[in-house]
């Protein structure tokens, strides 16, 4: 047997100088004009180029939906699969060849309705993959039905009287699945998105990133509140590990917990806030409680938190699997067909 699929870890190749162009395909991009996905594509290609991994070592796997067309537009290996199943396909890819960098692109319907099961289990196993969930809170490709992340009461083609089901929260779901890296970013903020995606790509283990994204045709303005750059100060918290949780002009507001509930508190503008005056962010916390609390902050009573919620290390499924294979080979020796065929209860007929 050769090791075509699973070569031993080699010294990294010298990083070739790559540009965004190296990750573009000739395929005509077919999202609606003005779609938030264009911005995400641009930033992703930039991030891919910057990290220096050659395109042939990268795989994009997607499911079904507008966002899932993504692989066609990235000049890596790509697999546009079936609805909701991208994390399962990616699991197979990564277990077959752990040396590939694997990205999953999914949407709110794909990842959190038909494919929730696979999403949670991929996260729980901590495969070394990056999952980008484009959340536009609507079914776009099927032309405007409510999605699992649509806000309660939303009127759509299939909910003319308003939805009667509570939305599922991507970041909170990922945290519940014990994700080792969870982040949120906004389509309209390319620099923040780039920083976030770079951190996700660097993370070893499953990196889950929710990208708030506008569907200008079927759910226009879904994230105007979060995306409004004029009101960024008031409406967004930029999470930074080890830093005070604050927002508002010159950081004049913070978040504290009273009776297990978050409350907005006033802080002295600028400078370091006094100890205990606001939460200090900690992406390495063992308990998911802080991440969960911050992820659950929603307008209009709170700003929305963006950035990295959680970034911890844990054993990685595909590496553990490879480890077990290598351990078995080193303990028992590389399997020989003859030995396998002749194992069990055998006898000779003379």
């Amino acid at each position: 047997m050769n090791d075509t699929c699973c070569p031993p870890t080699q010294a990294p190749e010298p990083a070739p100088s790559l540009t965004r162009k190296d990750f573009q395909t000739p395929q005509e991009v077919r999202w609606c004009p003005g779609c938030g996905d264009y911005g995400i594509l641009n930033v992703t290609q930039r991030v891919l180029a910057a990290q220096g991994i050659p395109p042939h070592k990268v795989v994009f796997v997607s499911g079904i939906g507008c966002s899932s067309r993504f692989p066609y537009y990235v000049n890596t290996y790509g697999f546009h699969s079936i609805h909701g199943r991208a994390p399962a396909i990616a699991t197979g890819v990564k277990c077959a060849n752990p040396d590939l960098q694997v990205w999953v692109v999914t949407g709110d319907g794909d990842g959190l309705s038909i494919g929730t099961n696979h999403l949670i289990h991929a996260i729980r196993r901590n495969l070394d993959i990056n999952i980008l969930l484009f959340n536009n809170r609507i079914y776009g490709l099927t032309k405007g039905q409510y999605s699992p992340t649509s806000e309660l009461g939303k009127r759509t083609k299939t909910s003319p009287d308003g939805t009667i089901e509570r939305p599922i929260w991507p970041v909170r779901t990922a945290l519940a699945g014990q994700a080792t890296f969870v982040a949120r970013t906004v389509y309209s903020d390319p620099n923040h998105m780039a920083t976030t995606l770079e951190a996700a790509a660097r993370h070893r283990g499953t990196a889950f990133v929710e990208i708030l994204q506008n569907c200008n045709v079927f759910n226009d303005g879904a994230f105007d509140h979060e995306a409004d750059r004029k009101k960024t100060d008031e409406q967004r918290i930029f999470l930074e590990d080890g830093k005070p949780v604050r927002f508002g002009k010159d950081g004049c507001k913070g978040i504290l917990v009273e009776n297990m509930e978050p409350v907005v508190v006033d802080l002295p503008p600028g400078g370091e806030p006094p100890p205990g005056s606001t939460l200090i962010h900690n992406t390495k916390a063992v308990s998911p409680a802080l991440g969960e609390l911050l992820a659950a902050l929603v307008p209009p009573n709170f700003p929305i938190a963006t950035g990295v919620f959680r970034d911890v290390e844990r054993p990685i499924y595909d590496q553990e699997l490879r480890g077990q294979v290598e351990a078995a080979i080193s303990k028992q020796g590389k399997g020989r067909i003859e030995d396998l065929l002749n194992s069990g209860t055998t006898w000779e007929v003379r």
């Binding site: 042939h56 699991t91 399997g335 396998l340 055998t346 007929v349």
Partner: protein
């Protein structure tokens, strides 16, 4: 032929015997059955076995639902089934007798543990009167043995607590059976040593019980006759006992080694297929990677993802899981990636009879996908053949870049037989071509003119980046295409690719005369019963032949012609007539179904009777 042994008891030569051990789920019947089977192999008999166990893990003790059985057929010539009717039944309690009596040959031997025939157990087994005391067993040779007490007596000096000692009584029963068929005890004692070497008390107690059982049979006046089955004239060589699941697992591993690609087996536990996942998870030193997935869909998708990345992607399941995997199979057809799916069929629909066998997934395997989605469908015809069919599945999947479905079933999965171990050099070649880096004219859907297969370009290879997916592909380039004319061409190409495989498999082969009055056509696990029934009919001068299909899609060449050379065609299947309808629609022949759907394999006599009927019509 008959002689007498040293004890003055008659030793009768017989050509064949069928023995069934039956007791509570916890009585260890599978264990002693397996021991008896191994011993039979060791003394040179041909064997075939079948277990019968309840769906519940531990049904209430003594209840009819909790009876577990193990049947073994051994002979001095080839055996093709586990036997129609046992000549010997060992029943450890009233429930075991009640459930199994109807199958025992008239005049057969029934060995009963009389200690368990008490009021409580008789009530649990719904006996109105004690069969030991009424005349309901008068057609049989009943050997009443107070097994519980004798076992207790034999093991009382061991250091085991009473409860554990009581559990040794299956070895007492085995001891009786060994004497009855003139088998040596030594190999069983050696096995006990190997198994319990460090647990001296367990070893001693079981060994004592075994000896006590043997000696009891040897001395009791109740047993005047014992039997000897001479070694079978099997082809020379090394053999191994395998059941279908073990053989399928082994076939996948060996094929992946030959293909020089690691095996990634992704599966979700389901009866009766779980054993394949269990077995493969022990073979990591063959670079086998197993993934126990969150569900059936994920399992199929993970296997497909692994194939995309260049491994041998395989998954396994049973009927309900096949239904769930259907969409991913369609994706495998569209993306033209190799994928092996072993479907160990069980009685359906829905949860059905999960531990019982059936062959009712054929049409689903052939057609159970939306759109025009042809896939290769194979079926092993014996437990050992599961090895060869799994191997063939990998060969075809990789050569033709296609999903291959293997239709095993509960019978094959659990039934064991002697498998002639092949020489590695005799294994068919599985050559997997990889596409070199930066190949100038690489196109993901450039078809090989001969096989119509597309190249398998692995992620990680420089310069071959491409995108595949469920959307229709433009021929050659693999770009997304919504063009109707292209779609039609691609459907035709995918279909031609699969139908063309007919030239790469053996043509249809009739066992017996090439033409005549009646042809029996079967597929999968019915092979042994059909073969035996046809052999018996031919021995009586009937013009009957047998054709067995291992390839269900594409069908082998020459099949239509073969069918038409017979006046009548009869198709025995463990379903309502699925292959029969395929043959009728494919070849316009008046094939008739012979259905059996009772959760068990065909009996030889059922097919034999049907042959008689068909010939007389």
């Amino acid at each position: 032929m008959q002689t007498h042994d040293a004890a003055g008891k008659e030793l009768r030569e017989v050509s064949q015997a069928t023995v069934r051990f039956a007791g509570d789920s916890g009585d260890g019947m599978q264990l002693v059955g397996t021991q008896f089977a191994d011993l039979s192999s060791l003394v040179g008999n041909a064997i075939r076995t079948i277990p019968d166990y309840p769906a519940e893990i531990r049904a209430p003790a003594g209840s009819l639902g909790g009876v577990s059985g193990y049947q073994l057929n051994f002979a001095d010539e080839e055996v093709s089934t586990p036997g129609d009717a046992p000549y010997v039944l060992v029943a450890m309690n009233p429930a075991a007798l009640k459930v199994n009596l109807r199958d025992v040959q008239t005049g057969g031997v029934i060995i009963l543990n009389t200690d368990e025939f008490n009021e409580a157990n008789l009530t649990k087994a719904r006996y109105e009167s004690n069969p030991l005391e009424d005349d309901s067993l008068s057609d049989y040779q009943v050997i009443p043995v107070p097994m519980t007490r004798l076992n207790d007596e034999a093991t009382k000096d061991s250091e085991l607590p009473g409860r554990d000692r009581a559990r040794c009584k299956n070895f007492f029963a085995l001891g009786i059976a060994l004497w009855l068929y003139d088998r040596p005890m030594q190999p069983v004692l050696e096995w006990l040593m190997h198994k319990f070497g460090k647990k001296t008390a367990v070893l001693t107690a079981n060994a004592r019980s075994l000896r006590a059982g043997y000696n009891f049979a040897n001395t009791t006046e109740l047993m005047r006759v014992h039997y000897r089955v001479a070694p079978a004239k099997l082809p020379k060589g090394r053999y191994r006992r395998v059941n279908g699941n073990e053989a399928a697992a082994m076939g996948l591993v060996v094929a992946s080694c030959r293909a020089e690609r690691p095996l990634v087996y992704a599966s979700y536990p389901i009866t009766p297929a779980s054993e394949i996942l269990q077995e493969l998870s022990r073979h990591k030193n063959f670079d086998v990677r197993t993934i126990q997935c969150e569900d059936e869909i994920a399992a199929c998708c993970a296997a497909l993802g692994a194939s995309f990345a260049g491994c041998i992607g395989a998954t396994g399941t049973s009927g309900p899981g096949l239904a769930l995997k259907a969409e991913a199979l369609g994706l495998a057809v569209m993306t033209e990636l190799p994928l092996v799916l072993v479907n160990v069929q069980r009685a359906g629909p829905s949860t059905g009879l999960p531990t019982k066998t059936e062959q009712a997934d054929l049409l689903m395997a052939l057609h159970g996908r939306h759109g025009e989605a042809p896939a290769v469908v194979l079926a092993p015809s014996s437990p050992g053949d599961c090895f060869w069919v799994a191997y063939e599945a990998v060969r075809l999947a990789t050569k033709y870049m296609t999903p291959v479905l293997v239709l095993s079933d509960g019978f094959l999965a659990n039934s064991a037989e002697a498998f002639a171990i092949p020489e590695v050099k005799d294994l068919p070649e599985i050559a997997v071509a990889s596409v070199p880096e930066n190949q100038a004219d690489f196109a993901p859907y450039r078809r090989d003119p001969k096989t119509l297969s597309r190249p398998w370009a692995m992620p990680g290879t420089a310069g071959l980046q491409h995108r595949i997916g469920g959307l229709e592909k433009q021929e050659l380039t693999g770009a997304v295409s919504y063009d109707g004319a292209n779609h039609r061409r691609m459907i035709e190409q995918r279909n031609r690719k699969i139908s063309g495989i007919a030239a790469d498999i053996p043509p249809a082969r009739v066992e017996g005369d090439d033409s005549g009055d009646l042809l029996l056509v079967g597929w999968g696990s019915t092979c042994g019963a059909i073969k035996a029934a046809v052999r018996s009919a031919r021995a009586e001068g009937h013009s009957v032949s047998h054709l067995h299909l291992r390839h269900l899609n594409p069908l082998p060449q020459g099949l239509g012609e073969a069918l038409k050379r017979f006046r009548k065609v009869l198709v025995p299947e463990n379903n309502l007539g699925q292959l029969c309808s395929v043959l009728r629609s494919e070849f316009l022949v008046d094939a008739r179904p012979l259905p059996s759907m009772e959760g068990r394999p065909f009996l030889i006599r059922e097919i034999r009777n049907a042959i008689e009927e068909a010939l007389n019509q």
